[in-house]
Structures are given as structure tokens and as C-alpha cells.
Assembly symmetry: C2
Homo-oligomer: 460 residues x 2
């Protein structure tokens, strides 16, 4: 803890902005279910009475409908105006529970747009808190005492697997070796990266090959590719990785394209290529389906992963109870803030399943980098990997740094959420220069934008 | 089918309206998690090129945030402007799949606000279709051939339990006795009601007792009461029902208040009162938790029900696979339209679990009445019950009629979604007279409205 007296800011107001990067134009993020997405941010800035101090947070959508996410953020944001930060963080578990309650709860609960909106707001509060403490968020969390860490988590609906008392005992156990892990983090050796940018579905074979060679030179040993385009196409792409990086760990992702039995039939035919897991083989809601798929693929040496669309701790709890996962791919935006992310990290650690955050969207590596660092140092105590994508980092004030196959530990105080004004001038929707252009207007005015994958699904 | 040539309307535009009934003022809908809710509607009218023909649909929220639901409806509504109705209904399964796809899918998928928004739009399309066919919606569905009915359902993610071929064979089997069931429906004897209005948490004991005596006189034999206020309070209320209606079927509902182990500990202490089920004992996402609770309560003669917050067919599929339910309480607004409701009705029928729709909100009895009627006539073939609440029917152009303990079969063409202009003049938000009043403004400007239950939860 820093020794100079810390301010206790009062939140005085907020601004919500709609930002959309036209990523579909470069096939960034393209996959079997999302052929054309514009990585988009529902962005909130909480102003305070402390000069120069603000809390910045955002959540994520894929373009169209980002205004609905912004409406959700505007709906919930007033709940913290006029509040002192300490009145929120002093009993953050209760504040978090109350924040998810009330009339707005009925629309989900703890799912979809309102869950994303709660995330954006909580990210802004955590960003503010970390700035007040003068630490990067990962270190604020990593250096909390077990009591402080348990004190920010609402254990509602997970006490059948993890009580506050059990979490406390677990975290005290993990204090062993924490200093060494912190030291490793400060040497930028805590969080190895895996590469997804080489595997976007819309890339040409030449682009994939060039990207692979570049990634191997950058120290990547893990690669993820989109599949589901038919065995011939899939084998060609995956074979390219094996050829260029014979010892690589290869992951596959089909983004919810399949039904359960189809996944069980399809994946063994790729087993000879040596695959760690198939990601999102079916609906992210199908806990029992993922468990069946995992059991069926195990004899073939292929695991199962999911999480980027798993909306809350209750779903993750069950995926773990059902023995359905080889990796917990929680998303920094999908869950209800660091509070709920900590609950999921603790559940994953209890079950001994690695946390491998979903980080494939613009800005996600910036945020997930904090999560992977505090998970390693304070919770799991085990090294995992984090998804790296190379697009749009230039639009972030505190971009994720990567070298020697590892993410660097963030050093700036806060949660690295700030996006540059240059990005807003181009991509704020609808007033940014790109969206005002003829091409931008055409894209905005297509009500079926990105629906093509649905129309060509082999399951149809 | 009617013999006069039917129009094939083209959708020419739409209007979306935000309507909020101040139901909290009368404790309507009050329960352990929702102490103060304003039953609210995100309402859409699709205009057509056929004079006098429009498609009306709505989805539901609990007041605050209804503008977010309306934003979701406005986001998706343009997808059908310019389309002929026949181009939607001729391959409705594919249209439905494509409608749930695209960039907007990433925000959920098939959950929360965007799922509610898709529901409102699909309700308007089904309303328009039924009007064109000159039938009430329940009868349009009930009189479809098995082939026609299967043709409106997207089986994605449920084929491990139910394929289109299996559904077709099942429906052909159910053709036996269909004429007799249709005749019973036309005599208004198909759908018995159960009463929830007597059991709102916020009512005084005197109000509960008066309501019970009135309900017994109206022919009700089934009652549902909110519980979770402590054993003494709960036993007093439930005992009142037993005293006034000794042979009544009593249902209990705790609206997600508890954790799994708490539910298993609490409910057996009420078993001597003779209870059919506990509804929503914990998180609606906790499939494995519901299965554990049901197994634990079975020896005590108490069942488990849930559904009003179950967002899609994939969750219902698993609740059934896990043997977690005694009643499938699907909600007319929560699922993605009649298309997905039919998939859930078929799954429930396959597992032999009765469909008992959630119908506790303003206007829900009007819509669910159609569902219960077509489920009885064409799908399950078995009589179930439907939740009846007595508030706000006067604001619906085609209100649910009830007598002799049964819902009447709707007779007007369409889906009974139309709400009167009188309702909008008072309760449209924010311009309606009530919301412009001092009291209305105070309610609208309370960002934590309805959060009290969270703050007094025994699980906190």
C-alpha cells in the first residue's frame, strides 16, 4: 500500500459512448458463426470530485446493437452517482449483489445485455479504485489479503461448491510462493500467450502462412484456428500449422456451430493432427452437452473448452461440476466485473482447471492481461496461457505489451481501459469519420449484417 | 383454413412504445426477489400494406430498464421491413435461425434483453399471421399439420434429444384424439387455472384471506403462494390456504432467493402442509442444482418447478435431461417466440413433464392462454393448468376470460397482444399521465428502485 494519504473520490457524473471498430473489413474476428463483426465498445467514464481522477470501463459487442448495450449502461450508471468510492468498495460483495438486483434484474437475470452493462460499470469502478491505490488492477487484486479478496465476492448461488470460508482457507494456502510468483510477473514471465490472429476464418491460406511464420518468430508456441468448414479445409489449415511449427500446441474453435452429436462425430477425424481442445463445440448453455462431448473426445486425445459466452458464475460452476472443461475461457467483459471473475477463478482453481481467458476482441488482451496475472500470482498459483490478438492495440492508452512469447505485466495504475480520442474521432458511432463515410453508412444500414454464417451453417 | 383468398401483406414500417404499469403501488407481482416491480411492455406494431392489418407484439420487463428492451426491439425490427409475410412464414425455421444470427448474436446469445426483443418481434409476426388466417393463434397452431408445425421450428442445439423426424412422428401420434380435444377447448374446458393473485408477498393477511375466499368461489382449486420469509410466516400463510380450501393443490414460489443447500434444508420443514412444488428455489441457470434439490425433496413429497427465467430451449432441454422438473414453466415472453415455445412444448411432452406456463405478469395470461390451448390440443394432449392473475385485464383489447375454474379459448383472430390506447395515455413512459405525475416522477428517478429485497435477503 502507498504511504501518502489516498483520496476518497465522490462520483459526480458519467459519460457513455458508442465505439465501433470496422474489423469486418479485415476479416478480424471472423469465425463460423460471426463472419462479419465490428468489434464494438459500450464505454463509460465516471467523473469524480478529485482533479484528474476518473474511472473508465467498457463492455463489448460485435457491432450492430451496440446502442442497446449503451442503453443498458445508461440505465445502470446513475446508481453510483453521488457515491463515495469507499462506500462501494468497503463492502463490495453486498454492493455488487444490490447492484444486480432491483427492477432491472427481471430482464435476464445475470445474462446478456444487462450483464454486459453491469460489467462496463464495474470495470470503471475497479479502474478508479486501482488508480486511487496507485497500482495496476492485477496488482491491486494480487496484493489483497485473503480476507480483502473474499470480501469483494458475492457467493450467492455457488455456496454448494465454494463458501466464503472455503475460499479464505484456499487463498491462505496460496500465500505460499506468492512472493516468487509476483517476482516472476514483474519480470514479464508470468503469462505466456497463444496466438489467434493467425487463424481467423476469413484469411487466405497465404495470409495464414505468413502470420504463422511471424508468430513463430515472436515466440509463440500455441496457436488457435477456426474449424468447421469441412474436413478437407480444416485439415489443410491445421496441417499448415503442424508443418511450420511441428511442436506447437494447436487449439481449434468452431464458435457454437454444431449440435452435440455432430461435434462427437466430426472431431475424431482431426485427432491425428494433435489438438489440445475444441472450443465452443455447441451452445454455450449446453453444460450436459459439453460434458458428453468431452467424454466422447477424451479417448481421441481432444479436450473441450468454452467460456467466452458463459454469462455467469452459476454456469461455470456447473461446467466444472459436470467435468465438461479442459480450460475455463472466462471473458473479461461477459461476467459481472472483477467481483464475479474472481469467483470463477476460485472455482476453476478448486477444480484444478486452468483459466485461459477469452481475449479475441479489440481491447480484450489489455483487460484479460490483468486477470491472467492476478490468477497466476494470487489464486491458481499455476502458469496458464492467454489469448493474444494483434489488432487495434494502437488505440489503447495502456496497450498490452508482448515479447518473448509472454505478455508483460501492466505497470500503469488502473485497468488499462482507456481508449484514445483518435479512435473515437474515427470510430465513434454514428458521428465518427468512418461511420459518416459512404462505406460506413452502408454497413450501418444493413439490418442483416453478419447473418451469412447462419445461412450457410452445415447444421441447417 | 378459410376459403376466401388470404392477403399476403408486406411489412411497411413499425412503431415501438414503452409502457409501464405502476403495479408496485398495489404490491402486484411482489415476491422475495422483486418487492417493487412495475409490469412493463416493450411494444411493437408492424404496419402493412393491407388496410386494417397490423402485427402487434410485446415483451416484458419489470419497469426500470424497459427502455433497454425497447432499444433491442428497435435494433432488430428493421430486419423484416419490406418483407412479405409469406417470405417469413414459408420457411419460418430458417428465417428464425437467421433472425437470431448476425452481429447482434454476440451480446447474448439467445438470452436476456436481445432474446426478449426477438420475442416481441416474433409475437408481432405470429399475430399478423393468425389474423391473415382469420384464427386465434392457438387454433392456427393447433390446426397445423405435423409437417407444418415442425416446419416452423429450428432444431439447432436440441437434436441430441429431438430431431425433426422424431418430432414429426410424435405429432402424428398425437393426431389421435385431437378432434375431441379441440371440441373440449371450444367448450372452454381445456385449460384449468391456478391462482397466484392471492399470494403476492406484499399483501396483508386479511387481503390474502379475502382473495382466497373470492378465488374459491370462482372455482379455483390450485393456489400459489410466495414463501421464503421464515418458517413461521410461511406456515401461517400456507396454513390459511389449507384451512379455507382443505383439498387445494398448493404451490410455493421463492423466486430464486436461495442457494441450493439452503433450499434442501428449508423446504422439508413445510412438507406437512402438502405442497406440489417449490418454484425457482435457486438460480434459474442452476440445472444441476435444481436436479439436486428435486432429488432431495422427493422423499418429502415436494416437487420442483422453474421456467419463467429460463431463456431458451437449450436450458429447458437440460433441465429435462437432468430430471430436475415437475413442471415446465415456460414464459410466453422469455423464449424466442412461438417457434421456440413449440420446441420446448415438444421436449416437455417427450419427457412427460406438464407445461404450466409462467403467467404472473400483466398481459401474460392473455398470451399464455394461447400456448396452453395449443399444447393441450396438438402437442402434449394432456390437460395441465395455467397461472391466472386478475390484474390489468381491462387494458387488453382481447382479455383472457375465465369462468368455472377454466380459461376460455380465445376466439378473436391473432395473438391477443393489443393493449388499449387508454393504457398508453396513462402509462406510456415517460409521456403518460401517471409517469408525468409527481409520484410517477419520483418512482422513475429512483435508480435503486426495487432493490430492497436484495438488501434483506436471508442469504446475504
Amino acid at each position: 500500500m502507498v504511504s501518502i494519504p489516498k483520496p476518497d473520490p465522490t462520483i459526480t457524473g458519467y459519460t457513455v459512448r458508442d465505439l465501433r471498430f470496422p474489423t469486418s473489413l479485415d476479416a478480424i474476428g471472423s469465425d463460423p458463426m460471426n463472419t462479419a463483426g465490428e468489434n464494438a465498445h459500450g464505454y463509460i467514464v465516471y467523473d469524480t470530485d478529485v482533479p484528474g481522477l476518473e474511472g473508465i470501463g467498457w463492455s463489448f459487442s460485435n457491432g450492430q446493437g451496440n446502442e442497446v448495450l449503451c442503453a443498458g449502461i445508461k440505465c445502470l450508471a446513475p446508481r453510483f452517482v453521488g457515491r463515495k468510492l469507499s462506500s462501494i468498495t468497503s463492502d463490495f460483495a453486498t454492493t455488487h449483489r444490490n447492484f444486480l438486483g432491483g427492477q432491472t434484474r427481471f430482464m435476464s437475470p445475470e445474462r446478456g445485455v444487462m450483464q454486459l452493462a453491469s460489467n462496463a460499470i464495474l470495470n470503471a469502478l475497479w479502474d478508479m479504485w486501482a488508480k486511487v491505490e496507485g497500482k495496476p488492477l492485477w496488482r491491486l487484486v494480487a496484493e489483497m489479503t485473503p480476507e480483502q479478496l473474499v470480501g469483494v465476492i458475492d457467493f450467492r448461488y455457488i455456496t454448494d461448491e465454494l463458501t466464503p470460508e472455503q475460499a479464505l482457507a484456499f487463498l491462505k494456502e496460496k500465500e505460499k510462493g506468492k512472493a516468487e510468483r509476483l517476482a516472476l510477473a514483474l519480470q514479464n514471465l508470468a503469462v505466456p500467450g497463444y496466438n489467434t490472429s493467425v487463424g481467423w476464418l476469413g484469411l487466405s491460406d497465404a495470409e495464414v502462412e505468413a502470420g504463422l511464420r511471424k508468430a513463430v518468430d515472436a515466440g509463440f508456441k500455441h496457436f488457435k484456428l477456426k474449424v468447421g468448414q469441412g474436413l478437407e479445409v480444416d485439415r489443410k489449415r491445421l496441417g499448415m500449422v503442424r508443418r511450420i511449427s511441428p511442436d506447437a500446441v494447436i487449439m481449434t474453435d468452431v464458435n457454437q456451430l454444431w449440435d452435440v452429436d455432430y461435434a462427437i462425430e466430426y472431431m475424431p477425424k482431426l485427432a491425428d493432427l494433435g489438438l489440445w481442445f475444441i472450443e465452443e463445440p455447441t451452445s454455450p448453455d449446453d453444460i450436459l452437452g459439453h460434458a458428453r462431448i468431452r467424454a466422447a473426445l477424451k479417448p481421441h486425445g481432444i479436450g473441450v473448452a468454452t467460456g467466452e459466452h458463459v454469462n455467469n458464475r452459476v454456469m461455470f460452476k456447473q461446467l466444472l461440476q459436470a467435468d465438461a472443461l479442459d480450460a475455463v475461457q472466462l471473458d473479461a467483459l461477459r461476467l459481472s466485473g472483477i467481483n464475479e471473475i474472481l469467483a470463477v477463478c476460485l472455482l476453476a482453481a478448486k477444480f484444478g482447471v486452468p483459466v485461459v481467458p477469452h481475449s479475441g476482441g479489440t481491447g480484450m488482451p489489455e483487460l484479460c492481461n490483468h486477470i491472467s496475472h492476478f490468477d497466476f500470482v494470487a489464486i491458481s498459483g499455476k502458469q496458464s496461457i492467454l489469448e493474444y490478438t494483434d489488432h487495434c492495440h494502437e488505440y489503447f492508452s495502456d496497450p498490452a505489451e508482448f515479447s518473448n512469447g509472454h505478455f508483460h505485466a501492466p505497470t500503469a495504475p488502473g485497468y488499462s481501459c482507456q481508449i484514445t480520442e483518435e479512435a473515437f474521432s474515427k470510430f465513434e458511432c454514428p458521428e465518427g469519420s468512418f461511420w459518416q463515410s459512404e462505406k460506413g453508412q452502408l454497413m450501418l444500414n444493413d439490418p442483416w449484417r453478419g447473418c451469412a454464417a447462419e445461412q450457410t451453417s452445415p447444421m441447417k
